[in-house]
């Protein structure tokens, strides 16, 4: 049995070899586009590597045990460390986390589980998105006006608590958003299953839905902490600065970001070097937090 193929139509070009031909117009065009895209991608990540590299070179060589245990020197003297600022950053971030996580997770739970997508929930979501875009210095001024200027806590003005609250304002939108989105990812069948065995809404949320969404929520919280730990603007006029060891939650406190801001532009070599060292420690901390977030987000896939 023979099959006669129809002759190729003359309106098309002649049949060519199936082998790849680099000289073809489409192949040349393809290579050029690839090259352009790759170049822009390289340019895009260049700042990241330059910043990391420069901070590592400038700050990395200054790392020593003294850096973590000593106070900054008085102007004109040399040596010293940034122990108080490291401690201060940790303290302020812990305060901010302690405030923003309960409020943020609670708000996210309300949006995703309780609100029936009415106007109030829409309004809260919209407000949350706006809050996420508010410049960080605005949250600083806000807390300054609300707490610092009014001497809200025990007649103290600048304090670690005020700084922590200012950072909490910055962290809130991220925590609310990730909780809301994380809960939306929980399959509806899981909630039905819990209701089906007679669980109330509260039990369903605390025992089934929230644990199921723990990974995205924890990732969001860690990323929010990483962002807050590096903020300067909200701390300048809330936590202020202190050349001494932290005296308490309601006193001014040194933080690494404000230390960098203060010391980097001082006309003293020792202070400038400490600013670089603090930059290095801060970058490493934030890098570690991001890696931790990635690790957490991989947990469920395993």
């Amino acid at each position: 049995m023979t099959v006669t193929l129809p002759p190729p139509s003359s309106q098309f070009q002649e049949r060519r070899t199936l082998l790849y031909q680099p000289g073809l117009k489409r192949n040349r065009f393809n290579r050029i586009c690839n090259a352009i895209a790759a170049t822009f991608a390289l340019i895009a990540i260049l700042p990241l590597f330059l910043v990391l590299f420069y901070v590592l070179i400038q700050g990395g060589r200054l790392i020593s045990p003294r850096l973590f245990t000593e106070l900054p020197p008085a102007p004109g003297l040399s040596g010293g460390g940034i122990g108080n600022a490291i401690l201060g950053t940790i303290l302020v971030t812990v305060i901010a986390t302690a405030i923003s996580v309960p409020v943020g997770v609670g708000g996210g739970v309300y949006l995703a589980e309780y609100s029936s997508r009415g106007w109030f929930a829409q309004f809260v979501r919209f407000g949350n998105d706006v809050l996420a875009g508010v410049p960080s210095i605005i949250s600083g001024v806000f807390i300054y006006g609300l707490i610092v200027a009014t001497r809200f806590f025990f007649d103290q003005s600048y304090s670690a608590m005020a700084g922590g609250i200012a950072l909490a304002v910055l962290m809130l939108p991220t925590v609310i958003k990730t909780t809301d989105e994380g809960l939306k990812l929980v399959p509806q069948e899981l909630r039905w299953g819990a209701y089906g065995v007679g669980a109330s809404r509260f039990v369903t949320i605390t025992r089934i839905t929230l644990p199921a969404a723990l990974t995205p929520i924890a990732t969001g919280v860690v990323l929010a902490i990483a962002r807050a730990a590096g903020e300067t603007a909200p701390l300048i006029f809330t936590a202020l600065f202190s050349p001494f060891w932290p005296e308490g939650v309601f006193n001014p406190i040194a933080t690494m970001s404000v230390l960098i801001y203060n010391f980097a532009i001082m006309p003293y070599e020792a202070q400038n070097e400490l600013a670089w060292a603090a930059s290095f420690v801060l970058v490493i901390l934030i890098l570690a937090a991001n890696l931790l977030a990635r690790w957490i987000s991989h947990l469920t896939k395993a």
């Binding site: 029936s116 997508r117 039905w192």
Partner: protein, 268 residues
């Protein structure tokens, strides 16, 4: 009390009286009257979109979770109208358990999957014993007994579904609702679940939605056939109950032409 005037025969477990369920302004299923017998398996069959799942979910107020879903009429269970304002839906679901179309074990260990429902229902007995008893009743004990602490997701689809049945049994409900429990399963798992149902009907009232008519014949004592038809001025098809009788009558000598057409495969 509004429901005391209704006489409910002792062998009637649940009674639907002129039930109409709507999603928003759209009526999904209309004017259902039905007496579901106690200690039997009742199957709901019918083409897609005829409202059989909607009716099933109305029986333990699962439709409450769907925004805009409303019910008119009465669903009598244990001498109460389940849709009375004073009725607590959580208590309803504790006594009327449910197994869903897709296996949905909790992201916990097999043991915890069973223990969760019992614990929130205030079970005070020996938990190990309850877990074993429930898994045995659902015919999944042999596959689970060596890995009770492993995740519920480590089981196959059929085993997960039987775990969900065990989970429903563990709270000792009076009625178990099953929404196409075998639609995601292979024939062997399906057979095992059907055997489980035969075991369970000694102690429970079972109501099952199924697309598989052979399954209805195999497991059900009673069968309800639902159909849907377009109504004048309506935006879509409205479901209604065509016929409710012994399974044998439905499949061998139905009184309605559309039932005969459906069970003999002429449409649907």
């Amino acid at each position: 009390m509004t429901t005391s005037s209704t006489t409910v025969a002792t062998d009637v477990c649940m009674s639907l009286q002129d039930v109409t369920i709507s999603y928003g302004s759209f009526e999904a299923v209309k004017n259902v009257y039905m007496d579901l017998p106690r200690g039997r398996v009742t199957a709901f069959i019918g083409p897609s979109g005829c409202g059989k799942t909607t009716v099933l979910r109305a029986l333990n107020r699962m439709n409450d979770l769907i925004p805009g879903c409303t019910l008119k009429g009465r669903v009598i269970f244990d001498q109460h109208d389940l849709y009375d304002k004073r009725v607590d839906p959580v208590e309803v679901r504790r006594r009327i358990g449910m197994v869903f179309q897709k296996p949905n074990p909790f992201p916990k260990s097999i043991y915890e999957n069973i223990a969760f429902g019992a614990r929130i229902n205030g079970y005070r007995g020996d938990m190990d014993e309850l877990v074993e008893r429930s898994l045995r009743k659902a015919a999944v004990w042999d596959e689970c007994k060596d890995k009770l602490q492993e995740s519920g997701f480590s089981l196959s689809g059929g085993q997960q579904q039987r775990l969900c049945i065990a989970r429903a049994i563990a709270t000792e409900p009076e009625v178990i609702l099953m929404d196409e429990p075998c639609s995601a399963l292979d024939p062997i798992s399906t057979l095992k679940i059907e055997e489980t149902m035969h075991e369970l009907k000694r102690s429970y009232t079972i109501i099952i939605v199924t697309h598989n008519m052979q399954q209805a014949v195999r497991v059900a004592d009673m069968t309800a056939f639902f159909n849907a038809e377009a109504v004048e001025g309506g935006s879509g098809k409205v479901g209604y109950l065509v016929e409710f009788n012994n399974t044998e009558n439905i499949f061998n000598s139905p009184s309605q032409q559309s039932t005969l057409d459906y069970v003999s495969g002429r449409f649907g």
